[in-house]
């Protein structure tokens, strides 16, 4: 039963991997400077970030200035995770106190 399940999951993984490797046929060559990801939005950031935000590090400029709402949402995610961890682990300690 267990070996059977492992065989099925291995077959599914191999088929998915083969399909994904077939899909890389259409991707641009690795490290191509003229690929679509490198030629549309980022030239504007590279040329104008220092003029507009006075920050030499472009990653910091984009993270905290152009896309600061993104960072705000990220901190909301961290806050939710920490609150849920706090409540999940706090219930255990209460139960142990009741038992003792």
């Amino acid at each position: 039963m267990r070996n059977w399940f492992k065989l099925i999951s291995m077959a599914a993984v191999i088929i998915t991997g083969a399909l994904l490797i077939y899909g890389t046929h259409d991707m641009p060559a690795w490290g191509d400077p003229d690929s679509p990801a490198n030629s549309h939005v980022s030239p504007r950031y590279i040329t104008e970030a220092t003029k507009k935000t006075a920050t030499p590090n472009i990653v910091s400029a984009v993270l905290a200035d152009y896309r600061s709402y993104d960072t705000l949402g990220e901190s909301a995610v961290i806050f939710t995770a920490s609150i849920s961890c706090f409540f999940l682990l706090r219930r255990i300690r209460n139960k142990e106190d009741h038992n003792d």
């Binding site: 267990r2 399940f5 492992k6 999951s9 291995m10 599914a12 993984v13 191999i14 998915t16 991997g17 994904l20 490797i21 890389t24 046929h25 991707m27 060559a29 690795w30 490290g31 191509d32 400077p33 690929s35 990801a37 490198n38 939005v41 980022s42 030239p43 950031y45 590279i46 040329t47 970030a49 220092t50 003029k51 920050t55 030499p56 590090n57 472009i58 990653v59 984009v62 993270l63 896309r67 993104d70 960072t71 990220e74 995610v77 961290i78 939710t80 995770a81 920490s82 849920s84 961890c85 999940l88 682990l89 219930r91 255990i92």
Partner: protein, 143 residues
Amino acid sequence: MTEYILAKYNYWIYVVLMMIGLYAMMGKRNLVKKLIGMNIFQTSIILLFVSTGVKKGGATVPILMHAGHEHGAQLIQVSDYLNPLPHVLMLTAIVVSIATTGVALATLILIYKRYHTLEEDEILAIRRESRAYKTPRILNPTD
């Protein structure tokens, strides 16, 4: 043919990593092993996105060198610096992945407190048994 392999072998290794993570999530019975597989899966996707920002041919890290100078604007060539956009997005993704890992580990500790095992088949057997005999001795909330 050699050129094609040299242009694509990085993507193939990322797919192999992703499939190792997927196999750990599907085939392994231990819940910590499943979580390790989830981490490997997330890291391979982040690796793929970061690698789309690579430019071959002399590009350096996206930190401007002549920022303080007056004529700094004229010196900026787009092909001299890497694409900063995937770096920013994946910075967010790494922090979100640690948040999901933390919540999953807290849930794992709760599961161990209730069932005293982390193997998926044993947990399912305990649940099936307690449902068959209508004696929720392990699922009792005051336990």
